[in-house]
């Protein structure tokens, strides 16, 4: 049987989700954002909640998320996505509301909003993309940058004595009573992509059960900011990011 015979709608196994539109994404080649967008689209399609989902876009590379997923979106000021999502969820409690934020947004300028939204137990989902630097502005050091990691503003590596330790937001948020689910995942292999999909789906389901805030941290790569190829970035992430940001569920109240 040759390839032309196999390529037939009856034999279809996997295709791009219809929630994601055909607009070419502005992300760099190999960017983890694309995989997470795709997963969100697949989950929204599987749960059939396309007209009941509202996303809040951040400031950062993820700011254009509203261009690629055909759901309702609101763009928030830098770091203020949890505050905007709080308002949306309180006014429209029958909608699935999520924020999509990077580490510069959620863990730096928006730390206060994140902690208070989680502490209040808002029934929203946080999709937190952590790549350890400010990717959009040129790879500067972020609170999440690893000790010794080079960035454009720490060219000799992050010095913990001068610049402090890396901020582990998930570990911080899991202690808040308003939070029902905290997990840390990645999207660099097939198995991890599937695990992340299950985690995001669980978080969406918890938000509709009014259990409180759910945080899905996705440890990601920034091949442009890290100055590596996408494949090398994944290896570097496994070797350096995972020992600091360990994978797995940190909190799940079931």
């Amino acid at each position: 049987m040759n390839v032309k015979d196999i390529i037939n709608p009856a034999n279809l196994v996997y295709e791009k989700t219809t929630v994601m539109n055909d607009t070419p994404m502005h992300y760099c080649p190999g960017c983890s954002h694309g995989v997470v967008h795709k997963l969100l689209g697949e989950i929204i399609q599987e749960m059939d909640i396309q007209d009941k989902t509202i996303g809040v876009a951040p400031v950062g590379c993820g700011v254009f998320a509203y261009k690629y997923l055909d759901i309702d979106w609101q763009q928030a000021a830098h770091g203020r996505a949890p505050a905007v999502a709080t308002a949306i969820k309180r006014l429209l409690p029958d909608r699935y509301v999520f924020t999509y934020q990077g580490d510069g947004d959620l863990a730096a300028i928006g730390t206060a909003e994140t902690i208070h939204a989680c502490s209040r137990g808002e029934n929203i989902v946080f999709i937190y993309i952590n790549n350890g630097i400010y990717g959009m502005t040129g790879g500067q050091m972020a609170p999440t940058t690893l000790p010794g990691m080079k960035s454009t503003t720490s060219p000799k590596g992050r010095d913990e004595k001068l610049e402090g330790h890396s901020l582990d937001m998930s570990k911080l948020l899991m202690h808040l009573d308003g939070v029902c689910y905290v997990t840390r995942q990645s999207v660099h292999t097939v198995a991890s992509v599937r695990k992340t999909k299950r985690a995001i789906r669980k978080a969406f389901e918890y938000s509709m059960m009014n259990k409180g805030a759910s945080v899905v941290e996705i440890v990601s790569t920034c091949s442009s900011g890290w100055r590596m190829s996408p494949a090398d970035s994944n290896t570097w992430m496994e070797e350096h990011m995972f020992p600091v940001y360990a994978m797995g569920d940190l909190k799940d109240i079931e």
């Binding site: 034999n11 196994v13 996997y14 795709k38």
Partner: protein, 74 residues
């Protein structure tokens, strides 16, 4: 056990040639083309199409959702 045979279609205009599908493929089917798309990226294609089992590993890791996967049981 039935043998599985697969095939993929790459949206070559959408592909950015990041190479992640080539790394993810367990059967070493994929490679980056010497041709480039209109943006100048060397898109991925099935170099050894006989090896494809339609496992969809490439499509799962593709950040730009460029890959459609088909599979038949022989």
């Amino acid at each position: 056990m039935a043998k599985l045979k697969g095939a993929i279609v790459v949206n070559t205009e959408r592909c950015k040639g990041c190479d992640l599908c080539v790394v993810a493929c367990p059967s070493e089917v994929l490679a980056l083309s010497n041709d480039a798309n209109s943006k100048g990226y060397n898109f991925s294609f099935m170099e050894r199409e006989d090896n494809c089992t339609g496992c969809a590993a490439c499509a799962n890791v593709c950040p730009d959702a460029c890959i459609t996967v088909y599979r038949v049981k022989l």
